[in-house]
Amino acid sequence: QVQPLLVIHGGAGVERAEMTPEREARARDALALALRRGYARLQAGDSALDAVSAAIVVLEDDPLFNAGRGAVFTHDGRNELDASIMDGPSLAAGAVANVHRVKNPVLLARAVMEKSPHVLLFGDGAEQFAAEQGIALVDPSYFRTEERWQQLQKALKEDAAGKRAATGMATLRHFG
């Protein structure tokens, strides 16, 4: 038997200037919980796919991270979610893009991989597939957090002031 391992990330672009002790403690707790949930699957003899799915569900459910609940807003004030998953031995893969009602997009990506002949489903069609597969759907308001909403308002004000258009794409925060 091989020793199981799990590695996770919760996003790059973390800046000390925007960090508070409370936020850092929350992040560390959430990451530790994701690691424990995923590793428990590995210790139970489940697959690497099960482990990465379990870990990501924890992070999607935590509003601190830009995925699932707590996702950033688009220009139009919507939360638009993407996810993907891949199995190393078989090269099987599944992905979804631009979904708005799927509570845990990683679970839908896995359903695409395991229960469809396709790799990437998009938008309304992806959500129709989710409904057919019994994947949990939620009202889009589930994903909203005030912090993310204020980030969008700040960006829109900068748009209106011409700051972002004038300086071009290079100054934008493009972590995704």
Binding site: P4, H9, G13, G38, L49, A51, N66, S84, G88, G176
Partner: protein, 135 residues
């Protein structure tokens, strides 16, 4: 963006990534996270999940590039991750990070920003969490 890579007790690797994209995005923009080979990739030798400026991860097919370096060139996770995340992407103007897991259990977590939320757990069963480069 969040991501995970794992190796199970049978030595099988997997990778996954999930994201809300970028604030104020327009026109149905899609980044690297749902694109197999850009933000996510796994084969028998390697598993990768990326987080960063998606357009650059797409242009260099970042996740598959890291895995091909490991599979075909025999590079370590650290060397392959550094070549793509710390050298190639910044040379084009992009930034971000990734987590890389090799079939041999080697872990790399390269990033070129001030911090990246990240963590790992293995034989000791204890979650290890880090944020900044010096953590």
């Amino acid at each position: 963006t969040v991501g995970a890579v794992a190796r199970d007790s049978q030595g099988r690797l997997a990778a996954a990534t999930s994201t809300g994209g970028m604030t104020d995005k327009r026109w149905g923009r899609v980044g690297d996270s749902p694109i197999i080979g850009a933000g996510t990739y796994a084969n028998a030798d390697c598993a990768v999940s990326g987080t960063g400026w998606g357009e650059y991860y797409l242009r260099v097919a970042a996740a598959r590039d890291i895995c091909l370096r490991m599979s075909l060139l025999g590079e370590s996770a650290a060397i392959a991750g550094q070549a793509v995340i710390e050298d190639e992407i910044p040379s084009l103007g992009g930034d971000g990070g990734a987590i890389v897991l090799g079939a041999d259990g080697e872990v790399a977590m390269p990033f070129n920003t001030e911090g990246m939320y990240r963590g790992w757990i293995g034989s000791d069963g204890v979650p290890h969490v880090a944020i900044y480069a010096q953590d």
